[in-house]
């Protein structure tokens, strides 16, 4: 199954690696937030149809965090960098304005 994942605020020329259940699912370089739409990148990620660990690695910031995601509860995931931490959100819908 898939989830919609968006990298939102706080990215500024960063490298971002996402691992789903230990496997690399996304790698982005020079990821930068366009603040007026709170968008840095977004993608559909193939994920297991059961709770899994999402590992977020931002080597350009020395940030690495893991999140538990249940794709049946959270089909939409947003990730932002704030104060050196990854902050996750689970909105009803992902869209940008």
């Amino acid at each position: 199954m898939q989830i919609h994942l968006a990298l939102q605020d706080g990215f500024d020329g960063d490298d971002v690696v996402l691992r789903v259940a230990g496997s690399e699912a996304y790698r982005g370089e020079n990821i930068t937030t366009r603040t007026q739409i709170s968008h840095a990148a977004d993608m559909q990620l193939e994920v297991p149809d059961h709770p899994f660990t999402l590992e977020v690695d931002v080597p350009t910031r020395g940030v690495r965090e893991s999140l538990q995601i249940d794709p049946h509860e959270h089909a939409n995931v947003t990730l932002s960098l704030r104060d050196g931490r990854v902050v996750a959100g689970f909105p009803e819908q992902i869209g940008f304005v």
Partner: protein, 723 residues
């Protein structure tokens, strides 16, 4: 006739845009009395400028005040219990302040000033007390504000009502061919809404008015669809330049709102304030009517109304970005104007409905078609440059945006440095020369002191830094003398740009742009910008000494022509200048230092000092010491005459030479006096800049002065050697 203003919930009649100017109040309580009508809105006090007529009370450094506006926000729709003000001097001298208010009586409020911006050193006040006189007639409304605190003398000003709105903004709604710019909705069309929501036709201008901005709307126009049917940001920016009737590369209270089909981003982008291109951002916004904002959730009770509402919300959300509002959850990111709090659950135009707990259904169940309080505070009360569309950083590139320059000027102000290239040594004081010339065909009346430093506005900008205003050390208080300037005639002046009450603004190595304005009646005569460079230091020793030189004491001594000493504060400055003379004799700063050190020795110098018991003051006179003066000044005016002409400037060189000669003669040093003038005449006669010689009449004047010294003065070598 009184009428109810539904945007602001004010009982009102017409605006009073053209009311005559208010006067500065006396201390009477003429405003007392109960209020029966709303008082919020924009109040103003504008000052008609007259030559040299004081217009106070003005904060120090903002002389003269050109305009003063106050935004009073205590009633009507969404009151923020705030009063804010902007005090504008000529050109860039601006102060912005904001105070939070508490009601203390029927028509009285008080509060602390919690925000200041601009020339805040000139505005020490910490508290305000506001008294309002409401009236059903706008022309009758007054606001009296008493500024106190900060160790300053109390300042009381009365303002007249101008508008029930705090700002005025123009909107133009253009649309892609085949689409429509739908700018209104029925607030109650969708069943999911606050129970208390008034059922009305809401329009975008109405929402913006409720935020406190008067709105004017220009007719929209159709924009051809782009190649490929989707829009890139650059294509929209191009379309804005072509189709927006008010497009200009400048800051203005106007925005372009574009209704397109889809962005190249895809259906996931519902709208964007695309205008972060070029020098003037936030002028253009767009929404995409075929994006996800046109996709209601499955099973929605009224899909058509949902789409209308989402489109309406998106348009105003993007317009909020044009007002420089961030998303509700982004308030603590980036550079906030004041410390803000994130509002992730706010029912604001700036929040994403689908981000809140409970999703869009929960959002719209409580959404009242408004901005949050901190957003309203920003729109209504933040400094204009933060909010206005297309504006840039404070004073950056807009130093003279407020200049009242006539279409066909008859006066011309020239700013020059009288050297081939505007390059200065490190530590070399930058003395500017100014020439105000009548280029018209009729005589003009000007203040004789129009080119004195405290009469001018001088803006100093180091490359890569914000511009600053020169605040001179000396403020004159003299009877104005009006001078008739005949066609072709000019008056001249000099000003030290390096340092003032703000410190040494033109001192560090780098490139600077300097611009000046003289004020003649209501007219601002603005010079062309002058670019100059300051070289880096030659040695670490120079850097060390510069640390002492770039201080208030040496700056005052250099500006005021020396200090006779006895005053501890300025004695230290003299020590610094003396050290420069001894350690860096080949550097140009040493010439300035010699003049400043030598000048007090040309006269019987009076110093007012406290008596030993500190119970009184006494005048101490140091007798003139022409030999000491000559030792210090002669190397400048005689031995290094050409260098002195360049670094002191022609006007100052001549002034110093003439003054020194007269004083030396008066002190009995006739020969030194004659030598000084003879050298000055010779140096000026030989001087050319860009091939242009000194005006002959200048040299003739000096020769006349020399004749007045003769025949008793004949130049000859001095015999007295300095011990």
């Amino acid at each position: 006739m009184r009428r109810y203003d539904e945007e602001l919930e004010l009982l009102d009649s017409d605006d009073a845009e053209d009311e005559p100017d208010a006067e500065v109040s006396s201390e009477t309580e003429t405003l007392a009395g109960p209020i029966h009508s709303p008082v919020s809105g924009l109040y103003a006090r504008s000052i008609p400028q007259k030559i040299s007529i004081p217009v106070g009370p003005a904060p120090k450094g903002i002389r003269p005040i050109r305009k003063e506006e106050v935004r009073f926000d205590v009633d009507g729709r969404y009151p923020q219990m705030t009063v804010s003000g902007t005090i504008s001097g000529f050109l860039v001298a601006r102060i912005h302040w904001i105070a939070e208010l508490t009601k203390i009586g029927a028509n009285r409020w008080q509060g602390a000033i919690w925000f200041k911006d601009g020339a805040i050193a000139s505005f020490p006040y910490t508290d305000v007390e506001v008294t309002a006189l409401g009236s059903p007639f706008p022309a009758g409304r007054r606001l009296k504000i008493k500024f106190t605190g900060g160790g300053a003398t109390k300042r009381t000003v009365v303002y007249k009502f101008r508008s029930k709105y705090f700002r005025t903004v123009n909107l133009e709604f253009d649309f892609q061919q085949g689409e429509i710019a739908d700018t209104e909705i029925n607030a109650c069309a969708h069943p999911n809404r606050p129970a208390s929501l008034a059922c009305e036709t809401l329009t975008i201008p109405k929402v913006i008015r409720r935020a406190g901005c008067q709105v004017t709307v220009d007719a929209g126009s159709e924009v051809p669809a782009p190649p490929g049917a989707t829009w890139s940001d650059m294509e929209m920016h191009d379309a804005m330049q072509i189709h927006w009737s008010r497009f200009a590369n400048t800051a203005q209270w106007a925005m372009w709102v574009f209704y397109g089909s889809l962005h190249e981003f895809g259906t996931g982008l519902g709208g964007i304030m695309f205008d972060d291109i070029g020098p003037n951002h936030r002028q253009g916004t767009a929404l995409f009517v075929d994006s996800f904002i046109a996709q209601p959730p499955p099973g929605d009770a009224n899909p058509a109304a949902w789409i209308d509402r989402m489109r309406f919300w998106t348009a105003i959300h993007e317009m909020g970005h044009s007002f420089n509002l961030a998303h509700s959850w982004q308030k603590t990111l980036g550079t906030a104007w004041v410390p803000l709090a994130d509002e992730p659950e706010a029912r604001s135009f700036m929040n994403y409905p689908f981000n809140v707990v409970g999703g869009q259904a929960a959002f719209f169940a409580n959404f009242e078609y408004r901005f949050s309080d901190q957003e309203l505070l920003f729109i209504r009360h933040a400094p204009e440059r933060f909010v206005q569309m297309g504006n840039a950083d404070w004073f950056d590139h807009h130093g003279f945006e407020e200049a009242a320059v006539p279409a066909e000027p008859t006066l011309q102000l020239e700013l020059r440095v009288n050297r081939e290239r505007a390059r200065y040594e490190f530590m070399e004081p930058v003395w500017l020369e100014l020439k105000l010339k009548n280029i018209g065909d009729q005589p003009r009346l000007v203040d004789a002191d129009s080119l004195d430093a405290d009469s001018l506005t001088v803006i100093l900008k180091k490359q890569g830094k914000e511009a600053r205003q020169l605040i001179p050390f000396r403020q004159k208080c003299t009877q104005p003398v009006t001078k008739a300037l005949m066609p072709g005639d000019a008056i001249y002046g000099t000003v030290l740009a390096s340092a003032g009450l703000n410190g040494w603004d033109v001192a560090e190595p780098g490139t600077y742009t300097i611009q000046a304005a003289a004020h003649v009646g209501d007219e601002d005569v603005v010079s062309a910008p002058l670019d100059l460079k300051i070289a880096p230091p030659n040695s670490r020793d120079e850097e060390y000494v510069a640390g002492d030189l770039f201080d208030q004491g040496p700056a005052r001594v250099l500006t005021l022509g020396g200090s006779g000493g006895g005053i501890p504060f300025l004695e230290g400055a003299n020590d610094v200048l003396q050290e420069i003379v001894e350690r860096f004799p080949e550097r140009r700063i040493s010439l300035h230092a010699r003049v400043a050190l030598g000048n007090p020795h040309t006269i019987d110098y009076k110093t007012v000092l406290p008596t030993d018991d500190l119970q009184d003051v006494e005048v101490v006179i140091s007798k003139a010491d022409p030999d000491e003066a000559t030792d210090l000044i002669e190397p400048v005016l005689v031995d290094e005459a050409q260098t002195a002409l360049e670094t002191l400037g022609h006007i100052r060189y001549r002034t110093i030479a003439e003054r020194t000669a007269k004083r030396l003669e008066a002190a009995g040093a006739d020969a030194a006096a004659a030598k000084t003038l003879d050298s000055a005449i010779e140096a000026l006669a030989a001087r050319k800049v860009d091939g242009r010689p000194i005006k002959p009449e200048v040299i003739e004047d000096l020769k006349e002065t020399r004749k007045e010294l003769a025949p008793k003065s004949k130049a000859k070598p001095r015999t007295k050697a300095k011990a």
